[in-house]
Every structure is written in structure tokens, then in C-alpha cells.
């Protein structure tokens, strides 16, 4: 049974703060993804990684960076949080086409 965990379910941060969102998967998957989900927009891809120390920009990478130092862990970093980054953040991992998602982190930036 695939398990993807995210470090926080809810997070409240202030504008300008640096924010770290952690994601860990236990299935030895090569591929990991970060999405944000907003009403009416579905899931939009921020960054993804197909291997350790490898990262690729998704559709909306501006204002975000990522780190993949170990295969099982993929971190999303908001360098300087802004109110328009208030959203639900979803991490996923996959071996092939099917992605498995974590429970999500609801981030509120004040």
C-alpha cells in the first residue's frame, strides 16, 4: 500500500516568510510531484522530479523552489510567501502513469 505523507495538514504563515513543505513516500518511487489545487483551476503542476537531485519546472514554478536530496523526500520551498500562494498543496509520487497523492497541506498566507 503506497503511502505519501506531508509534514503538515494546516499551516499559517506571514507574508515574506520562508516556508518549507515536506513530502515523503515509502514506495521507492522515482517520480515525485508538487501541485497546488485552487477552486475552478484543478491541480496545477509546480515542480516535479524524476530522480534524486533532479528537478523540472511545471506550469507555475514562479515563487517556488524544490529540493530532492533523497529518493523518498521531495521538499517545496516558498522563498518569500505571498498572499496569492494561499492554497492547498498536494504532493504525489509515481512509478509509471498512476500518481499517488498525499493528504495535502492547506497553507494560509496572511
Amino acid at each position: 500500500d503506497v503511502k505519501v505523507t506531508q509534514s503538515s495538514r494546516y499551516l499559517v504563515k506571514r507574508t515574506g516568510e520562508k516556508v518549507f513543505l515536506e513530502c515523503v513516500q515509502d514506495m521507492d518511487h522515482e517520480n515525485m510531484f508538487w501541485y497546488r489545487q485552487d477552486p475552478g483551476l484543478g491541480l496545477r503542476l509546480i515542480y516535479f522530479s524524476y530522480d534524486v537531485k533532479m528537478k523540472e519546472k511545471g506550469d507555475i514554478p514562479e515563487g517556488y523552489s524544490v529540493s530532492r536530496e533523497k529518493k523518498e523526500r521531495f521538499s517545496l520551498i516558498l522563498e518569500s510567501a505571498s498572499t496569492n500562494q494561499t492554497s492547498m498543496y498536494l504532493c504525489a509520487s509515481s512509478l509509471s502513469e498512476t500518481q499517488y497523492f498525499g493528504p495535502g497541506t492547506r497553507l494560509l498566507v496572511l
Binding site: 505519501v4 495538514r9 510531484f33 501541485y35 475552478g40 483551476l41 484543478g42 491541480l43 496545477r44 503542476l45 516535479f48 523540472e56 511545471g58 498536494l90 504525489a92 502513469e97 498512476t98 500518481q99 499517488y100 497523492f101 498525499g102 493528504p103 495535502g104 492547506r106
Partner: protein, 111 residues
């Protein structure tokens, strides 16, 4: 540019009846399609998928139909149950490329 579109933001169905959720895509390179189900405060969970070499895939109460010429797929749930009430996301991917998701359709199944 939204390559995967779910034009109905919501759908309400009576328990026991059929639910039909629709999805359209624009990229002819997509060759694998998935449906995910999402409950509030949880991550999406994989429901069913279909490869472009097929036009139908069935799993219990859930059937996905693919019409490649129309670039359209649909998810049929029959019979619908109150526990099916959730947001359903359609997703599509092309070989060696990342996945694109639709905006989601909120299904409400009324007892």
C-alpha cells in the same frame, strides 16, 4: 492553456441512478487517461484509468469510456451511492510527460 477540461463544475444525482462525468482534452498526444476522486481535506485517490488503445475500461460500478476522435472521455458510476459524493478530477498524460488535470466536477449523490 487548459489541455484538459471538465466543463461541469457540479453534478447532482439521485441515489441508485447513473452518474456521468465528462472530460474533454485538446492534446492529441495524450495516450493515458485517469480519473481521481477527492474528498474534502484529503488528497486525490486513483479511481480508474484507460489507455488510448482501448475505448472502455470497467471496474465494478465504475466505467470509463474514451472517444479518441472526439477527444472526449467520460466516467459512468452506476448505481450511484451517497459515498460517491466527492470531487472527481480527470487527468491525461502523454508518453514520458507529466500529467495534466481538469478543474474537477463536484458530484453530489442524494439519498
Amino acid at each position: 492553456d487548459q489541455q484538459v477540461k471538465q466543463n461541469s463544475p457540479s453534478l447532482s444525482v439521485q441515489e441508485g441512478r447513473i452518474s456521468i462525468l465528462n472530460c474533454d482534452y485538446t492534446n492529441s498526444m495524450f495516450d493515458y487517461f485517469l480519473w481521481y476522486k477527492k474528498y474534502p481535506a484529503e488528497g486525490p485517490t486513483f479511481l480508474i484509468s484507460i489507455s488510448s488503445i482501448k475505448d472502455k475500461n470497467e471496474d465494478g460500478r465504475f466505467t470509463v469510456f474514451l472517444n479518441k476522435s472526439a477527444k472526449h472521455l467520460s466516467l459512468h458510476i452506476v448505481p450511484s451511492q451517497p459515498g460517491d459524493s466527492a470531487v472527481y478530477f480527470c487527468a491525461a498524460s502523454a508518453r514520458d510527460n507529466d500529467m495534466r488535470f481538469g478543474a474537477g466536477t463536484r458530484l453530489t449523490v442524494k439519498p
